[in-house]
């Protein structure tokens, strides 16, 4: 993973979002409690602010790799609760 990292543009982190989707769309959030890239308390704050259905896993920043089953479960939950009009 370390070696197939995608370097980000320095602008990516200073650009401001104008219309956050979590204000209007149903939201789920996985908090990684051992995260050393994004502070877990920051994640909890954002999850709460978005009124997200939240799960916590004892994981580093790459919870989707170390806790793939929990991640898939959360996505499935989101997929089954979302309203799909076809």
């Amino acid at each position: 993973m370390a070696i197939s990292q995608v370097p980000i543009s320095t602008d990516s982190f200073t650009h401001k979002v104008t219309a956050p989707a979590w204000k209007t769309k149903p939201t789920w959030y996985m908090v990684a409690t051992a995260d050393r890239s994004i502070n877990p308390d920051q994640e909890r704050m954002m999850a709460k602010r978005a009124n997200a259905k939240t799960v916590e896993v004892n994981a580093s920043h790459v919870a989707y790799m170390s806790h793939s089953k929990e991640t898939a479960k959360l996505i499935e939950e989101a997929a089954t609760s979302a309203h799909v009009n076809r």
Binding site: I3, S4, Q5, V6, P7
Partner: protein
């Protein structure tokens, strides 16, 4: 006899419908053998920006380095490989234009089935789900589905662009020809390998030998690295 020089670094350049993680099956072994490895990641927006990203990546490993390009990544290493930090080139079922040639002009001479399964939308070239059989058809079905789900669509003009630099004219080259390739025609690969005077290995594989035959790919990279090491030691 002079003392053996340090191992060259290995820098990977991915093709279209892929990113740097397509080399995940060959990277761990090379690392375990003591090679410094970095896979370039680029946006497939233009050849010039992809080459620039590769040169930035060369700046993050020790020199000298071997550039390894898969598919369109062969065009990237052909241009970026003229850099002084590069001592060898490994082409994996790749394209390798000469000065004045575009990737598209090469592909047009050797049509392949994959291009019947694409869709251009929003300025990018997408692979249709059934196309993955012509891209990675010898992988287990589950793996093919992941390859499709993570395919990275290039800019529709990418293959028509030309960039300066024809590294295979001045750097030692290795070429892995994929005999069952339905994306880049095996005969095109053979023609390119011969034209550049590459040390060539043929493998019964689809377009993605680094996923279907990782051991063979590791072996060729290892040989390229050892040859460059010996050349440096002899100099």
């Amino acid at each position: 006899m002079k003392p053996t020089q340090t191992k060259p670094s290995i820098v990977f350049c991915h093709g279209i419908w892929a990113d740097g993680s397509c080399f995940n099956k060959v990277i761990p072994t090379l690392q375990a053998e003591g090679y410094e490895v970095l896979a370039a990641q680029y946006g497939l927006d233009s050849q010039a920006t992809d080459v620039a990203a590769t040169k930035r990546t060369l700046g993050r490993v020790s020199s000298p380095a071997i550039l390894v390009g898969h598919s369109y990544g062969g065009a990237v290493i052909t241009a970026a490989g003229t850099d002084d930090r590069v001592v060898g080139l490994v082409y994996i079922s790749a394209v390798a234009p000469d000065a004045g040639e575009s990737v598209q002009s090469q592909l047009d001479k050797y049509p392949t089935p994959i291009f019947g399964h694409i869709k251009v939308a929003d300025g990018r070239v997408w692979m249709l789900p059934e196309g993955v059989k012509d891209f990675a058809g010898d992988l287990p079905e589950q793996e093919q589905k992941v390859v499709w789900a993570t395919h990275f669509a290039p800019d529709a003009d990418l293959f028509n662009q030309k960039v300066d630099g024809t590294a295979w004219k001045s750097k030692p080259s290795w070429f892995i020809v994929a005999e069952n390739d339905r994306t880049v025609h095996p005969d095109l690969e053979r023609f390119l390998a011969k034209r550049m005077g590459a040390t060539t290995v043929e493998v019964k594989s689809s377009h993605v030998p680094m996923l279907s035959q990782p051991q063979l790919v590791i072996d060729v990279i290892r040989k390229a690295a050892k040859a460059s090491q010996e050349a440096t030691a002899a100099a």
